[in-house]
Point group: C2
Chain length 348, copies 2
Amino acid sequence: MQRRRPTIIDVARKAGVSKSTAGRALSGASNITDEARERVLEAARAVGYERNDLAVGMRSGRTGLLGLVIPDITNPFWAEVARGAQDRAAENGTSLLVFSSDWDHGREASHLRALRQARVDGAIINPVADSFDDLDRFGLPFVLIGSSAERFPANSSVGSDIAQAVRLGMDHLVSKGHHAPALILGPKSRIARARFLRTFHEHCVERDIDPAALPMEDGEYTVEGGRTAMMRLLERDRVGHLAVFAANDLMALGAMVAVREAGLRCPEDVSILGFDGIPAGAFSWPGLTTVAKPGREIGVRAVDCLFDEIAGRPEHGRVFMPCRLIERGSLADLSLDQPRRAASSGRG
Amino acid sequence: MQRRRPTIIDVARKAGVSKSTAGRALSGASNITDEARERVLEAARAVGYERNDLAVGMRSGRTGLLGLVIPDITNPFWAEVARGAQDRAAENGTSLLVFSSDWDHGREASHLRALRQARVDGAIINPVADSFDDLDRFGLPFVLIGSSAERFPANSSVGSDIAQAVRLGMDHLVSKGHHAPALILGPKSRIARARFLRTFHEHCVERDIDPAALPMEDGEYTVEGGRTAMMRLLERDRVGHLAVFAANDLMALGAMVAVREAGLRCPEDVSILGFDGIPAGAFSWPGLTTVAKPGREIGVRAVDCLFDEIAGRPEHGRVFMPCRLIERGSLADLSLDQPRRAASSGRG
DNA sequence: TGAGTTCGTGGGAACGTTACCACGGAGATT
DNA sequence: AATCTCCGTGGTAACGTTCCCACGAACTCA
């Protein structure tokens, strides 16, 4: 149907030079006269030449293709990461092959194989927890993103600074008079959970709080997971105002739903702090106060790191991006009502 | 660093056959003895052979790569589409190159060029409104998605059935006693707006309502756009309960914010109906009642259509996917309070 | 039994580009 | 003036696969 696409040979013929010279002009090499370059470029324009990336990849080993393997493009946080990576890749003339692993080992393995067969120059991967083997024999340059990167200290990685994020959240809670928040955490299998908990413990110790005395519930990283976790939390005995730090915005929103269903009000009866910074948190009522990860920036930096990795200068090592607090309405300010409550709660 | 990847020649040598025979075994051709195939497959496994898709694409013209150009992967609706397309592509052993155009003509053109240079087998495109030219000279098989597909009746396309969706929404409004809803629409430049309005007018005529008498406001397809549009709507004179049909969920959520800011309640004072079915609508309070587009299915069907298009059998033509109503809490039920109010409003 | 047919196999070309090497001319150096 | 160096150029090989054609063996049918 569509006629043959013009090749570099057609361009060379039209310009009256050899294909070597045409190739030099087209690839921006230096050892060529301005006059010849101009003639080749003009000829290329005239015949409508577009370089065949396949052939380039074949010969030079560089395809201009990058892989991105994330849990789910449908998750707003990962979509942000993908967008950042996409934009940065485009700036450098490379394209992104995007895959969703659904935290499934098999899917991940098959995606990695597809990336290898496509001869991508490298990949950005949020690894499924226990997939060290697959990653190990991936055989191409890669950069890890997300908190599970911690498992692979030898590789370049970009993630949010969970320690700083938890600190930020805790400081804010304390500044609003919530000295002993309850926790809603993700599944035990996820590394991010351990990271979160560790920093949380450190800060409790610094403030003379017994972490073991604080209520804590698990759930899937979903709205429903957060809702049921909050229900369990509300069934417990408690005194006064309840503050909750959720490990993920979706769970926080689910917790908010549970509060409403229990006939309580947020933030009057229960304060909720989220973690992620997804847009949906801005539409809820009250708006979700949350610690926002810089999803887009993570994507951008990951691509930068990957380019370094591909170029054989993996100088970045592990990059941690700072999070920031977004204050909306889901946290009550108790510091005004009860100026001195201190660390006495959680023991009655 | 990493040693040379084994080629089909290595496999052939190991199996003691020619590369032609090895190629036949590996590509699943029929004219080969079971014994030879078995030996080749075994050899391939032994040396860890993985086919070079680049070389295949080079020679056969099929790369196993598909392009997806959407406005923004960060938009939940488009993320769903991307996910559907991604999964279907993976089922067929192809990979997806994902691009975001931001409704920008230049970006779109550059993405299309990148797809051509990558020699993708075809592309799924949500075209920027006025980009007929670029699309026309794209030169590869493609399938359009979204409502702007209407502009290109000659090409295969997959979109939601806006006529059915508007009908669904209007019927629901009427069944709840809202006979003369206000409208919040997208920018005038977008084709989806015209499509929406046309069906809306038809239904007004069928019900003896004068569409011109109904309040109508424009805005960007964003939360902020919906919020300001709603503010303008609330400044108008009105009698009794106000019902609003927004052309997009984000706008509907913005409208909800505006209602709250005006000291009014949803759904007691104002009813809101959305359009899209994004997850965020489930977390708002009240939950957003909306007409949901089948984003994921649209992605799946688009890939199916694209395969047909590539195979040279464009029999699908234009596919319209049905939408469904998701009832949550943003619509008041007036049909109980005022059994017979009919089409008298909007004229007082 | 001889000719025609089928089938599995192997060799070579081709896809479009870049890497490499050799060549010739112009300018610099002795 | 002769040699050396540098630079622009052109030819050729190579990347890894599939396509095409030719070859020989086995098998069928007259």
